[in-house]
């Protein structure tokens, strides 16, 4: 299922992506595009391979032994597998937020700077500036401004996730990959993050994997539905978010919507 997006910049795209784990194919025929300034939602039942798919975009899949990825993945038009490409630079350009917020066991300020300081030398002034601007961007600054030197582990889960977002933003990514970023959070923190995403999308394109259909419907511009077909994860439907939700056609998707109607 391949849809052409006219007149917009394509930031990230895959062509016929296939993922195998030890001889078993778990994802097949994955072709999708993420345009600049938009949020692409990836939805579908658990086990379909959504998280694995996300990890292909920043080559984090390489950390799992036995996982083999075939097909094209392009960031800003160039393949992410090009030999001259430094994978660590790629991962800074394509940031990732995980389901469980993973704060490092250092203070809040150090957390925000953790990735950024590897990229280039920052003076103390530049560091302070960076910390403040990123924390403001995730609406955390007012809450933590007088306890920057305190351990980040003391923050609430919702605050920790926003801290992780600030940390990721500090390395200036072009695309953000989000793996169910609000499923471990309470409703208030969830809507706080959702507001942030809507505000941020003009600056960073976002790929959002989510189980929360309301979330997908409300904040994603376009949606790709990944379901198991013949035992392999595939994109069964793709397109404008409202259109896909109002008129679901693929049988697997309709099943999923039926089951998930509790959400």
């Amino acid at each position: 299922m391949f849809e052409n997006i006219p007149c917009k910049n394509i930031v990230l795209e895959t062509l016929n992506l296939e993922v195998q784990v030890r001889e078993r194919t778990i994802l097949q025929n994955i072709s999708l595009q993420v345009a600049s300034g938009e949020i692409l939602g990836i939805i579908g039942p658990s086990g379909a391979g959504k998280s694995t798919l996300l990890r292909c975009f920043n080559r984090l899949s390489e950390l799992t032994p036995g996982l083999r990825v075939r097909g094209e993945v392009r960031l800003m038009g160039s393949s992410i597998y090009a030999p001259e490409l430094d994978v660590n630079v790629l991962r800074a350009r394509v940031g990732m937020l995980f389901q469980e917020p993973v704060v490092f066991p250092v203070d809040i300020r150090e957390n925000v700077l953790f990735g950024a300081r590897r990229l280039r030398k920052l003076s103390k002034g530049e560091q302070d500036e960076l910390v403040e601007s990123k924390l403001r961007e995730v609406a955390l600054w007012e809450e933590v401004r007088d306890r920057l030197k305190q351990p980040a582990a003391k923050l609430s889960v919702g605050q920790q996730q926003r801290l992780c977002l600030a940390r990721t933003l500090a390395v200036r990514p072009e695309v953000l990959l989000m793996d169910e970023p609000t499923s471990a959070l309470d409703p208030r923190s969830t809507s706080a993050i959702e507001e942030l995403l809507l505000e941020m999308k003009s600056r960073h394109s976002i790929v959002l994997v989510t189980h929360n259909l309301r979330q997908a419907r409300q904040i994603s511009d376009r949606v790709a539905v990944v379901c198991l077909r013949n035992g392999v994860g595939q994109i069964v439907e793709q397109g404008d978010s409202a259109a896909v939700f109002n008129a679901p056609s693929a049988p697997e998707f309709r099943d999923y919507l039926g089951q998930a109607s509790g959400m």
Binding site: N58, L60, L63, P65, N88, V89, L90, R91, A92, G95, M96, F98, E100, V102, F104, P105, F114, G115, R118, L119, C164, R167, T168, V171
Partner: protein
């Protein structure tokens, strides 16, 4: 019935160990009375004249242990880092097996290897320091390093593995290289386990008897001036364990004060090894 039996046998087991401790403490009483703190701070040990100062023995034990840890520590940590961070699970387990086998070589066989391989090498290599023979504190230290190496690798590996994968993934996802992740995330978070590994290895090294016995020269009263310079390592020495394992133990039994002095060395050894092992155990994050 099972319950009664379990309690009885457990009491027997614990009682035996308690009895051991008491025996050492009480039997060593006379020398503490006779020498007081000079027992630990005194440099000379002349049993015929009833002069019992254990300091050069303590120095020997600590020097040999220090050399062993300095050599085996970094090497073992490097090996553990590679095992834990660079190799997949299967390869890791497979390679741990040859290392475990090294751990199984008996102490006396290590002593043989020390005599056959290390002794002459040390004598030739450090010839410009003019050692009397190849039986030196340094030789014992190097031998001990090889003996504790597999244990250290295993303990370090456990410590590194206890750092959660989520931390590593988050760091890599930020764009940190593997080396940066190891340096900034894994090692700092494993530091408590690594310190425990060192403590446990100290306990192990202090308690080694036979291998050290065969290559250390067993020379009493050799406390060097100053004690921190490297050349004295090239002299023959004596540790708490080698003194206990030597001929004096048999001779001492007839003489209450001499025997008390020997038992006192046992008390020192017990305190040092139990202390190190206990602290090391407390610091380890045990799996489930």
């Amino acid at each position: 019935m099972t319950r009664v039996l379990s309690w009885l046998l457990s009491a027997l087991a614990i009682g035996a160990f308690g009895f051991l401790l008491c025996v050492f403490l009480f039997q060593s009483g006379p020398v503490w009375q006779s020498e007081g703190t000079r027992y630990i701070t005194g440099v000379s040990w002349f049993y015929r004249q009833h002069v019992f100062g254990a300091l050069s023995l303590i120095y020997g034990s600590l020097a040999v242990t220090a050399v062993a840890l300095l050599l085996a520590g970094p090497l073992g940590l490097g090996a553990a880092v590679f095992l834990s961070e660079y190799l997949p699970q299967n390869a890791r387990l497979a390679l741990k097996i040859p290392l475990e086998l090294l751990a199984g070589i008996p102490s006396v066989v290590f002593g043989l290897l020390g005599i056959a391989l290390l002794r002459d090498w040390v004598y030739r290599t450090f010839a410009k320091f003019d050692p009397l023979s190849g039986d030196t504190l340094l030789t014992a230290g190097i031998l001990l390093a090889v003996m504790i190496l597999p244990t250290m690798v295993s303990l370090f590996d456990d410590a590194l593995r206890s750092v959660s994968g989520a931390q590593r993934r988050a760091a890599r996802a930020l764009g940190l290289t593997r080396a940066e992740t190891i340096w900034n995330i894994v090692l700092p978070q494993a530091s408590r386990g690594i310190a425990s590994a060192f403590l446990l290895s100290v306990g192990r090294a202090l308690g080694e008897t036979v291998a050290v016995f065969l290559v250390i020269g067993r020379q009493d009263n050799n406390l060097p001036h100053p004690w921190y310079s490297p050349a004295p390592l090239l002299e023959a020495g004596q540790t708490l364990t080698t003194k206990l394992g030597g001929a004096e133990t048999n001779i001492a039994f007839g003489d209450p004060l001499h025997w008390a002095a020997i038992m006192g060395l046992g008390v020192l050894l017990l305190v040092l090894t139990a202390g190190a092992t206990c602290l090391g155990t407390l610091g380890r994050r045990r799996h489930a």
